[in-house]
Symmetry: C2
Amino acid sequence: MSHADRILMGPGPGNPYPEVIEAFGRPVLGHLDPDFIALLDETNDRLRQVFRTDNPLTFPVSATGSAGMEATFVNVLGPGDTVVVGVNGAFGERMCDVAARCGAEVVRVEAPWGAAINPQALLEAHPNPKVIAIVHAETSTGVRNDIEPLGVDKGDALLLVDCVTSLGGIPLEIDGWGVDLAYSGTQKCLGVPPGLSPVTVSQAAIDRFVDRSQSWYLDFAMIANYVTGGGARAYHHTAPISMIYGLHAGLGVLLEEGLENSQARHQACGDQLQDGLVKRGFELFAQEGHRLPELTSVVVPEDRLPDGLDEAGVRRRLLDEFGIEIGGGLGPVAGQVWRIGCMGHTARPRNVTMLLGALDEILG
Amino acid sequence: MSHADRILMGPGPGNPYPEVIEAFGRPVLGHLDPDFIALLDETNDRLRQVFRTDNPLTFPVSATGSAGMEATFVNVLGPGDTVVVGVNGAFGERMCDVAARCGAEVVRVEAPWGAAINPQALLEAHPNPKVIAIVHAETSTGVRNDIEPLGVDKGDALLLVDCVTSLGGIPLEIDGWGVDLAYSGTQKCLGVPPGLSPVTVSQAAIDRFVDRSQSWYLDFAMIANYVTGGGARAYHHTAPISMIYGLHAGLGVLLEEGLENSQARHQACGDQLQDGLVKRGFELFAQEGHRLPELTSVVVPEDRLPDGLDEAGVRRRLLDEFGIEIGGGLGPVAGQVWRIGCMGHTARPRNVTMLLGALDEILG
């Protein structure tokens, strides 16, 4: 079967760096092979650099980003625990669902979709939560929530942050901001296909792990014996070898470019895109001052859609005629917004130029 | 960093088919791209052929084989449910751990490591369990447990089978044997690197799903809206695109060879290996009549180890001098057995010849 070649400008996956695909071609090693262990260790070192942390327990969970969410929750939350969750989009909602399945009491602090969470409201929502959880970059709305004030005033709470769409794309300081648990995905600003969820866990979080996680697969205490075992590594589950080659290579590209340079490139593409959209009379959806450069949400211009074409039809024409993927809205904003990503290898000015040109051709 | 090229004759991963690695190089598509959905549908059709089932709910879980185990358990077991588990190795033990974390009552039916489970004992262990669970091919011992008698007399129980090391390598009939839930791994007899866990679920199992799985990521009711949604696919989590390309390609190789031909090739390699080991005076560990061809367990010949070399030292010499990986023992048989796999692309007579020759050179 023939295989399309897309420019992936949706909310993720983005296009992977060519070096990542090349790494997929490496001969498969066993998960206990000393050469593989060395590569895994180096991968985790690279993750620490990108997360800006010294946490020894930093590694890729063997599943996609949503499993990283579940992993961070199930290791610290059980019946009787309280978690305060910031909800201003689909991924904050998902956090509440995951936390409730742990048996935890969930205290929701909401903001409208498209607006940012007020950190003070999150801090004041409960006198003594075990966990405060928030999404750094809301993939459903293109909004950045502020993390730093939460770390300053979190008290005894553990701070748990979704970094799926932020890691590598915008400034993030795990240790500097006092984040205790964080997870990400490979398919966003790291420029790697989906399949792994990098996580990092502080000693304070380890000290407050539940006695036995309800998940065997995601049990950090057991996995730690494999990923941070020093010379002797205890088998837990078979690591996804080729995906880890890809992550290792993608992090290599990122660190060679430089973390700040990569963030600057994401910022420049986001600025170019958002300026271009505003110049064309489009309305940006996310609250000013909290707009992500790597993921732009824009209100669908109903009055400018060609006759007979709805918003999904425009996206379909972008896909069929230009090979460009952009995303639609989720949940309450389905049909009302487009989500346009510039992440990882996709974050190149030429891609923004191409998309704006394609929109001009379709919308006239 | 240079990259070793191994012949993977451990308990998995085996070497992948070259076509699989080639497929990893395909351009990444979005998880809602119609071209990707078509490829996923075809992958699931291929899985149904290999599982020998018509179950609509047949798909690869987005994580490795152990997550497939957890997924099948968490969707049908909760507090108050009873599960009977056959335990004759590490993976039966793991089933008990996973089931207990669901809050289920676990009834163990044991056989010594190296022996097979008596199906009658499993059937008589509890008057009315919700689930009877067993490992088809015990990767820790090389033993095949009989499944067919369980399906015949299971009564109202759901039959849950670990097919990680059996799928593609030995006869398996999901529908013919009355299996309700099964999971596998890609890195064994399917000839694909680790990273996915193919599962299949019967209507009887769907009818008895728990109200809300304790796992969000592995919630089959939610995932079904994506993998079996017909024209409209509801986003649940981002599928691991490139891994699914690999699985699609590996299943293509398998089905082009023919399922029975692939099983015959695994059988021939297992026979060649086991005959060769016995001729050399080695003692096979698994019970006669229940030996897996794709995974051979052999007692470490202590009296034939060269001076100063323990069993791990022999494995290390195989790795360093010949680039061949074999596995050691797990748990109670650590240090006492070797586990030698001939799975997927590794299951070639030349590899058996090479390994036997290498053992001759090292052991004299």
